[in-house]
């Protein structure tokens, strides 16, 4: 094994860019998928904003659709894990990961390159979601420019963390379909076991701690606060300090799942 050097670092960056280029070529090859990316936000906004929104009143007042949109933004970023797991799982099944591993590629480049490219693609869908919120739900950010930027920063950080959760799961499965099942099955319900769509105050006592400590609640509460949208109230620590909590959660996830994934990538032993 060679020692890390400037040259290794240079190749890690260049290889990552090459891998990222692959992700973009794949997207360009299936324009239909991008369309689905853009239609989904419209459906979510209409479904939750108007169908559920007509039946929900916030305990502390405020407009439900204003309350809702940060939740949907977070959900978009959480589901990046499923996309990442499916893509990595497919590459595992097809032997593409093996091909990469038999090539002299910097050892973290394959995963780093694709996580960064994935993130940039998901920013597109976040942008579509924001646009849908503004046009269809009348959502607005009421905070300062800096606070608004910080809110988006938290969403991006959380999305990046979730991509690595998905990447790690993808490295353990034998197919894209399995990866989808191994992430969507718990992740999607988990986005509901939080303050995402309904005020946390109304949850039964046994469920409330789960929602209080769900990292997704912290992210949603933090962005609501920064956007100046109506928010839930809870005495749990993460929701009293949502910005700090969501940074901590995201960083913790990254610190755990990046080394786990890179290790798993290097030693996949099927």
């Amino acid at each position: 094994m060679t020692k890390p050097s400037f040259d290794t670092l240079r190749w890690t960056v260049l290889d990552s860019l090459t891998i990222a280029g692959r992700t973009y070529s794949r997207q360009a090859a299936q324009p239909g998928e991008i369309l689905a990316f853009l239609v989904f936000p419209v459906i979510m906004t209409v479904l939750f904003g108007y169908v559920f929104g007509s039946a929900i009143t916030l305990p502390n007042g405020g407009d439900y659709r204003d309350y809702l949109m940060p939740g949907i933004f977070m959900q978009v970023m959480a589901m990046t894990a499923t996309a990442a797991a499916t893509a990595v799982g497919e590459d595992m099944a097809r032997g593409i990961i093996d091909r990469f591993r038999a090539q002299p590629i910097a050892r973290s480049a394959v995963l780093v390159g694709r996580s960064v490219a994935d993130l940039s693609m998901h920013l597109l869908s976040l942008a579509a979601m924001v646009l849908a919120g503004i046009l269809l739900a009348g959502w607005r950010a009421h905070g300062s420019l800096g606070a608004t930027a910080a809110a988006f920063g938290l969403l991006v950080l959380f999305g990046f963390a979730m991509i690595w959760v998905g990447t790690y799961i993808g490295l353990w499965v034998q197919s894209g379909a399995q990866a989808d099942a191994a992430t969507f099955g718990w992740l999607f319900p988990m986005t509901f076991l939080a303050n995402t769509f309904v005020p946390i105050e109304g949850l039964p006592a046994w469920l409330k701690p789960v929602a209080d400590w769900n990292p997704m609640s912290a992210v949603v509460a933090a962005t609501r606060e920064l956007f100046g949208n109506p928010t839930s109230v809870s005495s749990a620590w993460p929701l009293r300090h949502p910005v700090a909590a969501s940074v901590l959660w995201s960083v913790a996830i990254i610190v755990v799942f990046v080394p786990l994934s890179v290790n798993r990538y290097r030693s996949t032993s099927r």
Partner: protein, 305 residues
């Protein structure tokens, strides 16, 4: 070019390799043969730096597969059981991607992709996404992707599984050309005719150990020599026929058909001529008469039973 000594690998419950030795001289083809689970894929994965052995030593192109893995990866090509290419990208884009990851310049990658597409009969198809390719085209693209740096050693894990006969023969021709140019090839296969066609040396694995090794001819000889198979037209002629055949050897009745008899043919085709003459002289009508050489199938079945 490939040197393996006492290689062992254990997965959780199962010992996949229980100490195998192997030596493949430069510019030759070694066929790794064995039933499913014999350890073929494990051996290839270790040699291709994808898996660490638990014990033993393996050198490829003079480099240790564990210690010198980083350098070795520039000198080997690997084509696995699947066509490991991106379905959504064009053939050309695939090759350019893998070439860039070997640190070829953008222009160099484009040039090399062009050369390889041309060589493997994919110049036209190179512009289309791989998902539109036939099985044979995918395999050829996969092989091309393994050859970007013209590696002196090539590993192929069941290269023709699932291909139609024509595509298979095309691939064999391509592999023969590569070997003629000096490439050392180690391939695993379940098809004995494939080993027979391509390999200079066959190594039969069974339950993680080498059950037999040698050239295809040597292995066949070990199982037994040539035989002549006689199929009489009428069942009532068999007794008369056996009396004639006893003059040339010790005929055996074949279990499959009461009219069928096999005789060892010590002199190969000459024995066949002699038997044909003797039966003709005795006036016994024959429906079929053939010289049968032992096949690798027989070697395989005997060794892995």
């Amino acid at each position: 070019m490939i040197y393996v000594e006492g290689l062992r690998k254990r997965y959780k419950a199962k010992e996949a390799l229980r100490g195998i030795d192997l030596e493949v001289p430069a510019g030759t083809v070694c066929g790794l043969l064995g039933p499913n689970g014999a350890g073929k894929t494990t051996a290839v994965r270790i040699l291709a730096t994808l898996l660490r052995p638990d014990a033993g030593r393996a050198e490829v192109a003079g480099l240790d597969v564990v210690r010198d893995a980083d350098r070795l990866r520039f000198r080997i090509g690997l084509a696995g059981q699947h066509a490991a290419v991106d379905e959504l990208l064009t053939g050309r884009r695939n090759l350019e991607l893998f070439a860039r990851l070997y640190h070829l310049s953008r222009a160099g990658a484009r040039r090399r992709a062009g050369e390889l597409l041309e060589r493997f009969g994919l110049a036209e198809a190179g512009r289309r996404p791989v998902k539109e390719y036939s099985g044979g085209m995918r395999r050829r693209l996969d092989l091309a992707a393994s050859l970007i740096v013209s590696p002196p050693v090539l590993f192929m894990d069941e290269p023709t599984t699932g291909l139609d006969p024509r595509s298979r023969m095309q691939l064999w021709d391509l592999l023969r050309d590569l070997v003629k140019e000096g490439t050392t090839l180690l391939l695993t296969t379940q098809y004995l005719d494939e080993a027979d066609q391509l390999a200079d040396q066959v190594v039969v694995l069974r339950e993680g150990v080498v059950a037999a090794a040698g050239s295809p001819a040597e292995l066949k000889r070990a199982v037994g020599g040539d035989r002549v198979r006689v199929l009489f037209r009428e069942a009532r002629d068999v007794d008369a026929g056996l009396r004639v055949l006893r003059a040339t050897g010790s005929p055996e009745l074949d279990g499959a058909d009461a009219r069928q008899v096999t005789v060892p043919a010590a002199d190969g085709a000459q024995s066949l001529v002699r038997i044909a003459g003797a039966l003709d002289a005795a006036g016994i009508p024959v429906e079929d008469l053939a010289l049968r050489r032992p096949t690798l199938d027989e070697v395989f079945l005997r060794l892995t039973a």
